[in-house]
């Protein structure tokens, strides 16, 4: 099984991943192979089975809707590749 090149390019676009043409060719084979391999799950009868969404059944805890942290722009921006004042800087989005 191989994935069509346009499918690889479409999901790469969805994932915001730039791929070289050589990578697309390799991924057609590799992703196709993995998808063919996981097809074996088709043999499992899952009728009346509830999906398991977490490793341990637990009710999510609630907490007060209060501010516990913040007001430290310097620390938050400390790893920013580019900043302008107290903001992250990106290329112009709106002309």
């Amino acid at each position: 099984m191989t994935l069509a090149p346009e499918t690889v390019r479409r999901i790469a676009r969805l994932a915001r991943l730039r791929l070289e043409e050589s990578e697309v060719q390799r991924l057609e084979q590799e992703l196709g192979g993995i998808l063919a391999w996981v097809e074996q799950l088709g043999r499992v009868d899952v009728s009346n089975v509830e999906p398991m969404t977490g490793a341990v059944a637990m009710a999510l805890k609630m907490r007060g809707d209060i501010v516990t942290d913040g007001g430290d722009a310097e620390t938050v921006l400390g790893n920013a590749p580019e900043r302008i004042g107290d903001f992250y800087a990106v290329p112009k989005v709106v002309e």
Partner: protein
């Protein structure tokens, strides 16, 4: 005995009696890292100066008769735990420039108890791998060598291969790891040391670079079962910042290591006897059964009928969660940035250059199974099979206290031996993935050597929050196995 050969319990004893100082202990390990890390590449970052400063503080605390339960114990930290002021890469180019302004919950707990951090250890990029060969910072070498072919460069397993190699080669007394599909237990087996993945929720994930959030389990490595018990007791505990962290008391795991096996029922899962298992593993498994029987346990065969579906289930759920978690690497807020013609182009170039081949493969796989029209067929289906795998374990634990199985289907392999086909590499995790999917605790203990002289591990799997019974059984295996073999490359030995 040299300081780098001590176990954690013995080191605590020696430090407490002032037979040696925390500074001397740290210096011995820093010297070992300087001598061997250029070859092994177990550490990405070495924090020698910080370790010595922390050791001096530990010495002052110990002199006052104070100091926490790990005061002065030098550890290695997998480079996926955020450490305040120390670069944290997750083995990826995209996090190359990242210096966290905060400390992960697990490492903060270790620091609270007095531990000393020697540095950050190598791993497969974003913990996605079983060989520590996909790191952007080079591969890690397993300190063990084949008898017949000592030139072959073996992998330490993965993804926590740097931590496992560091502990095996005596560059650290213990280490942290994370286990999403086997990333603590499989490298422990490959490197002849012990490692435990506790129950999901036992250790906080806060400050651990996320791979697959419903599967990521932090846990410790040590050169003995009790060392892991001492480390886990410090690492575990409730943390309100991780909503899946469990609020229940942390038991004295070291005490559990000394309990008797009398009356315990141990299950041997028949589906773990798979074709293609390497020579020596079946024999070691049988030996493990008789050791436990001689120690007073009752052995019975059990069935985990959905075992064969663990891997394909994992390779849908883990990439799906990864594709979502890794969406945060956008080149804007932290990490690598590659400029583009517009914002979308900036994202795509940053991610295209920042991620390696295996990470891209999993992001795309995850994006595909979550995309419109495929979600029910792949992702929802996998979540349902996961429920059946969990139910298998629940059914088994209704009749037995713990399970005994091999950790991995082979001993350490050489670099390049299994890399041509991604599915071949994924099969390494066949015995470890089910416990991650079910969230149950599991530990690997070195139990013997294969014909090549390489270590093999046995795995003890317990019910949810059954860490104590896991430690009891693992300690009995350790006593019976009497595993004293040493890796060829280790501190204090001449280079082979």
């Amino acid at each position: 005995m040299t300081l780098t050969d001590l176990g954690i319990a013995a080191a605590r004893h020696g430090l407490g009696r002032r037979e040696f100082s925390a500074r001397e202990l740290a210096l011995a390990h820093i010297a070992a890292i300087e001598a061997l890390n250029p070859r092994l590449n177990a550490f990405i970052t070495v924090t020698a100066e910080q370790a010595l400063a922390a050791a001096d503080e530990a010495d002052e605390a110990l002199a006052r008769g104070e100091g926490g339960p790990l005061a002065g114990i030098p550890l290695a930290i997998k480079d996926i735990f955020c450490t305040r002021g120390v670069r944290t890469t997750a083995g990826s180019r995209i996090l190359g420039p990242f210096v966290p302004p905060y400390e992960s919950a697990v490492t903060a707990n270790l620091l609270r108890d007095g531990a000393i951090f020697l540095g950050k250890t190598n791993l497969d990029e974003f913990a996605m791998g079983s060989s520590t060969t996909s790191s952007a910072y080079g591969s890690t070498e397993n300190p063990w060598k084949r008898r017949q072919n000592p030139e072959a460069r073996l992998v330490p397993g993965g993804s926590s291969g740097g931590s496992a190699a560091a502990v095996a080669a005596r560059l650290a007394l213990g280490a942290t790891g994370t286990d999403t599909g086997g990333s603590i237990r499989q490298p422990a087996s490959f490197c002849g040391i012990t490692g435990i993945k506790p129950t999901y929720g036992r250790c906080s994930r806060w400050g651990v670079v996320a791979f697959a959030s419903s599967l990521d389990h932090p846990g410790p490595f040590g050169r003995g079962v009790e060392d892991c018990a001492l480390l886990l007791r410090s690492m575990a505990g409730h943390d309100p910042r991780d909503s899946t962290s469990v609020d229940r008391p942390v038991p004295d795991y070291a005490a559990a290591c000394r309990r008797s096996l009398k009356g315990l029922r141990i299950g041997v899962p028949r589906e773990y006897r798979v074709p293609g298992m390497a020579a020596g593993i079946e024999e070691m498994w049988r030996a493990g059964e008789s050791w436990l029987r001689e120690a007073g346990a009752e052995i019975t065969e059990v069935s985990l009928p959905h075992t064969e579906f663990g891997l394909p289930t994992y390779y849908i759920i883990a990439p799906a969660e990864a594709s979502s978690n890794l969406a945060r690497y956008d080149g804007v807020r932290f990490g690598l940035r590659r400029d583009g013609e517009d914002l979308i182009d900036l994202y795509e170039r940053t991610r295209g250059e920042g991620f390696g081949a295996e990470v891209k493969r999993r992001i795309l796989m995850g994006t595909y199974v979550l995309s419109h029209g495929y979600y029910d067929a792949y992702y929802l289906k996998a979540q349902k099979v996961r429920a059946l795998i969990f139910q298998d374990f629940a059914n088994a634990f209704a009749g037995v206290d713990a399970l005994l199985a091999p950790t991995a289907p082979s001993a350490a392999f050489a670099e390049g031996e299994k890399t041509e086909d991604p599915v071949m590499m994924y099969l390494n995790d066949v015995f470890t993935v089910p416990a991650d999917l079910a969230g149950v605790p599991a530990m690997s203990v070195p139990a013997g050597l294969d014909a090549d002289g390489l270590p093999l591990g046995l795995q003890v799997i317990g019910p949810p929050f059954g860490e104590e019974v896991v430690f009891t059984v693992a300690a009995a295996l350790e006593r019976a196995a009497g595993f004293t073999s040493l890796p060829a490359i280790r501190a204090g030995s001449p280079a082979p």
